[in-house]
Symmetry: C2
Subunit: 545 residues, 2 copies
């Protein structure tokens, strides 16, 4: 039989193992290590699947980065973009639509008010933000162990947000329901690599638009104990989110701490609308965090170049974050970026391509210079199904986001079809990648044990390390262990049904939902939440906008 370079080399090196490192490992585990606990529990298919979901990674409440940022531009390049953004704010300005409070606050701060158009003297927004916005903040979870610090060298991974559809291999693409919503909250809760429960993990389209926020917020609280995001589709819904949080954390605690982070999009180019401003204002007044995110399809909503797009993003983010600081100095804000490149041939949004990566690297550096936390993606893709396109595109953005230094990485898991679809299998695959980011961001262990000089002395040329004392001391935690990848031989993979990644992921999410166990919630809090929802839902009629 012919074997590839890799196997050929192994066979040459370790003839007594017939080229099979697997056999050598079995020998080690069997002969030398019989007294160690078996990693693989016996049992049926389900137990094997459950086993696969565990990983060798130890997860913390958030990733504390130990590797450097990737700095794409030098100081002069970043200053040029900052200068251009200031020019944009000064000469062209930003529209704050139908929102007199913004005019009032910015007028008092020294901006030039021209109806809804607000123009900003150079440096004004930056100076407002720098004087009061926190460089990092803690978002408290109802389980204190799950509270996360957002900002600094930390990375918080958050599932995808906002899709009206879901997809799985069995039922295909369909409108999302509150059951799907609960499922994704549960799956996120069970994924130690995800640090945050997210917000609108999918749109529960079976509930009326003006009331579904109650069930979303309740589901995050009831089915998870990780931090969560609030409603932004109406100021009243933001207030409901705050009020429900107060039932969980207490009134004073909420006013003095951040327990909700919410996503506020600019209407690019250079516009904020009353809905988003209204919701943002509610959150800021209550000291809750907002992610101010220019939402850009470059080429349509921003210029068709990378530098132009970044300039506009910075200008919009500066204006939005400054507004929040005027509402309540010190309220946590996050500099958010969502930038996809428009296909200028078809008009479709594209993901995982090089230009948005260049935007992301640069925006992260600009946020650091400003001194605020930074949000970006995420496992973004345009693919309709969890296939190779979906994975290439997602990985490209994830790698970029990790090296760039994203603090709040929204859309890390589940995203398909430009955000229209939340995918069950895609979620499982993305979580595996998310787990890998935690390892990557830990960087290299340069301790004595990491340097492994003793292993060299023990093994020497022409042997192998499988039985070495250093290997035996480290092998249980060495090297990332994928939850969903199949690394077995072709023959074994074939004998197990020739499943592709999506088919394996399909089994995994079902097993996880079967095995889900709800975190404890004080019954009096649960009752208070249910009473609140019942009362509020009765106060007005259902509406689909």
């Amino acid at each position: 039989m012919q074997r590839g370079e890799i196997w050929h080399t192994l066979a040459r090196r370790h003839p007594r193992h017939d080229g099979s490192i697997g056999n050598a490992l079995i020998a080690i585990n069997g002969v030398h290590m019989d007294n160690r606990p078996r990693r693989r529990s016996s049992g049926g298919r389900s137990a094997k699947l459950a086993q696969r979901q565990r990983s060798s990674v130890e997860f913390a409440a958030a990733i504390d980065r130990k590797i450097p940022y990737y700095e794409l531009l030098d100081e002069a390049g970043l200053e040029l973009l900052e200068h251009n953004a200031d020019t944009l704010l000064e000469e062209i300005g930003v529209d704050f639509k139908q929102f007199p409070l913004a005019q009032e606050l910015f007028r008092a701060a020294g901006a030039d008010i021209d109806g809804e158009r607000i123009r900003f003297p150079r440096g004004l927004c930056r100076s407002i933000i720098r004087s009061s916005a926190p460089a990092e903040f803690t978002q408290c979870a109802r389980n204190p162990k799950r509270s996360v610090i957002i900002g600094g060298r930390r990375t918080v991974l958050v599932p995808a947000y906002g899709s009206p559809f879901v997809r799985d291999l069995n039922r295909g693409r369909r409108y999302a329901t509150i059951e799907d919503f609960r499922n994704f909250v549960k799956l996120t809760y069970m994924s130690p690599g995800l640090h945050h429960s997210g917000g609108t993990v999918c749109e529960p389209v079976d509930l009326p638009v003006n009331k579904r926020h109650f069930d979303m917020v309740y589901s995050h609280i009831k089915y998870s104990d990780k931090p969560f995001m609030g409603s932004v589709t109406h100021p009243e819904r933001a207030q409901d989110t705050v009020d429900m949080a107060k039932l969980v954390f207490g009134d004073d605690f909420v006013e003095q701490n951040t327990v909700i982070t919410s996503l506020i999009n600019a209407n690019s180019p250079l516009t904020y609308d009353a809905t988003m401003l209204g919701a943002a204002t509610v959150y800021a007044r209550h000291n809750q965090a907002t992610v101010i995110s220019p939402f850009i399809l470059a080429g349509a909503m921003s210029p068709v170049t990378v530098a132009g797009t970044i300039t506009q993003i910075l200008a919009e983010a500066l204006a939005g974050m400054a507004y929040i600081q005027l509402v309540r100095p010190g309220a946590p804000v996050v500099f958010g970026t969502f930038a996809a490149a428009l296909s200028m041939q078809s008009g479709a949004p594209t993901f995982g391509t090089p230009e948005p990566s260049l935007v992301l690297y640069t925006a992260a550096a600009l946020a650091r210079r400003l001194g605020v936390p930074f949000r970006s993606g995420g496992g973004l893709c345009a693919s309709k199904v969890p296939d190779a396109q979906a994975a290439y595109e997602s990985a490209n953005t994830m790698q970029t986001a990790a090296l760039a230094g994203v603090n709040f990485m929204l859309h890390i898991a589940g995203w398909l079809e430009g955000g229209l679809v939340m995918g069950y299998e895609k979620f499982i695959m993305d979580v595996d990648q998310a787990n890998m980011l935690a390892v990557l961001l830990q960087g290299m262990d340069l301790s004595e044990n990491g340097q492994a000089n003793d292993a060299f002395r023990e093994v020497g040329p022409g042997s192998h390390y499988l039985g070495a004392a250093h290997t035996q001391a480290n092998f249980e935690t060495a090297f990332y262990r994928s939850t969903v990848a199949d690394n077995n031989s072709f023959e074994q993979w074939e004998s197990e049904g020739s499943l592709d990644t999506a088919a394996r992921a399909n089994k995994m999410w079902k097993t996880m939902l079967d095995e889900y166990e709800m975190p404890e919630l004080d019954p009096s809090i649960d009752e208070a939440l249910l009473n609140y929802m019942q009362r509020r839902k009765a106060e007005f009629a259902d509406r689909d906008y």
Copy 2:
């Protein structure tokens, strides 16, 4: 109908286009730009496919990097690893098996010879390499426009190497033949994003082992005009490669220039065998380039830690490259790295995981400090099929390789199943990703046009950029345009057959092979090559080793 956040935002912004940027683009192209040549040629399915293969990227003979390297470790970290590698070389040493010439040359250079074990005074290998190895070199192609510079800030992308099997959607997994080999040479020739024809793009298993190198080298020369790699499985086969190159380039030209780059693997840990040394010696004597590549499954062939693995890679590469410089000072050498992490649970090699990325970033930095070109992967994956696993893993390594600063990026396209399989569809997908790397490495355009300040003045808040003069001046070349991704709406994708990426790629490689046109080759050279092969093949019997 419910729409996702992304579409919702568009619809709010551009009500006159019903939220469809596509409609807006059609309006622009139809109304304002009627005098422009149509990008999309009319014609049937084949013409559409051919169109898709073209890209907005302009390709050069190699990528000339304009973005910074990602430096994972600081100076102190790199010095520690260099110190440890020197300790390894000094205390433990490297076996040069059954190869007296190595003992002879290294003894004269001041090394400690203990039978086949050679130990090196601290700094000896480094000083030998630094005194004569070129920092970069040109590998000439028979078409001078395709000659590549390897080293410095350049990136040369090279297809996968060494798999005995091929796979495509129609015929599944099967042994590779010389026809498959020719097909991959043709596909590589037709992919402007690939700069190099590679070497054993797959093993032509239908030909005898001891004669297939003739047909491989001939195919690279005949069906492509890009630079290629030579045979390394026996010193005589290396000599045949050199002799055939001389028929193409002329005797003197070959002795004075580099026209072949070949892959020399160490037998890790710390061993070089006579086959590889013999082939490397032939190439070095003729001034041809060798890629000295420790080939590591970390945990088996190196210690089970990242830092230990890098230390060993550096030691092995130093010894191998120093040997080449002793054979012929100034012969081009490339510091090669191939490192996969072994699953310590199953013994299977894994790819695209964080630890090999850490190895790759660091090895690239060490090669820069040494002052030699650097080789690494590539679209590596363990997946048996071109599915999501294959793509995640490949993208993770490609992104890492691009930021790390790989000069000779082997295995960029086609690799499946840990290198056992060359995939037709995977090849097409990987080439698309390779094209993106060229754009990423170009970095950001900070020219006046790139800054797009005029576009801001023209458009302003609340409008869109689709009709702006700046957009019209730039849209034809703006933003990477994928060859294989489907970015269309779900409805359109469904109406076109709901094809996944692999199914689309399947059509593309077939169309490409249909449309392949052979580059011109001087008939007298062709005849000389055929005569050489006929004569040499008749000189000894077929053998399968």
